[in-house]
Chain length 124, copies 2
Amino acid sequence: MKIAEVSEKYGLSLDTLRYYERIGLIPTVTRTPNGIREYGEMDIKRVEFIKCMRSAGLPIEVLIDYVGLVQQGDATVEARKEILKEQRELLAGKIAELQKTLDLLDYKISVYENKLLTKEQGII
Amino acid sequence: MKIAEVSEKYGLSLDTLRYYERIGLIPTVTRTPNGIREYGEMDIKRVEFIKCMRSAGLPIEVLIDYVGLVQQGDATVEARKEILKEQRELLAGKIAELQKTLDLLDYKISVYENKLLTKEQGII
DNA sequence: CCTTGACTTGGAGCTAACTCCAGGTGTTAT
DNA sequence: ATAACACCTGGAGTTAGCTCCAAGTCAAGG
């Protein structure tokens, strides 16, 4: 799979895919004899994983650490698990926060919708 | 309420509070005769609202537009409602996305936890 | 053969949202 | 009265995460 197809499939720009490789977020993709990237099954899986994690806002640095540990093999399983657990907690907190904001938005929309707008409610 | 108290209460830095005012996200706070900011009840409410919205990632620009409309009075109620509705939908989508990532993290953690690690699962 | 188009690289540039700094003013405590 | 402290301003600097650019290579089509 060439870079354009991967880009298309996952909605990541060509530049982003190359950038991720450059900074070590995706391992060096194998090249055809003339230097063109040929994404293998593994590469694709990583792109998919990274895309998912990034879309939830996990920092690039954390992900670089994580994939670095994966590279190093089975000895790092505990450390990897710890990273994932920590990020899981952070993410759960974030979701709860977003949910609160969503609730507030819903409330404010309902106020506007029902024209319940009073001096007290309508300040902001 | 002085800026340091507001900062303390809402966990926004002094610089951030002044920055928000500078860019029009919070209206110009009234000053004591010697120029010190004195946050009134309204100002506090705005800080609280902005903090909540920003914590959910609503862009500053959108919020500037919104508070600008609030300044302009009742004629802008429809426009404000539209902004809130649009942001509400974006936020709901984001929450769904984060939830998917959370599920994936939980799955991966359970794989590590149960040592179900096989060649297929353990790639990343 | 020449052009078109997809790819390559290293490096510079960009955006959002702060964050820091220097230099200054006014209040409070010793 | 002098030091410490909390505040002020305008403007510069920082960070994360891309995004763009110039210059170059190669394969395929007319």
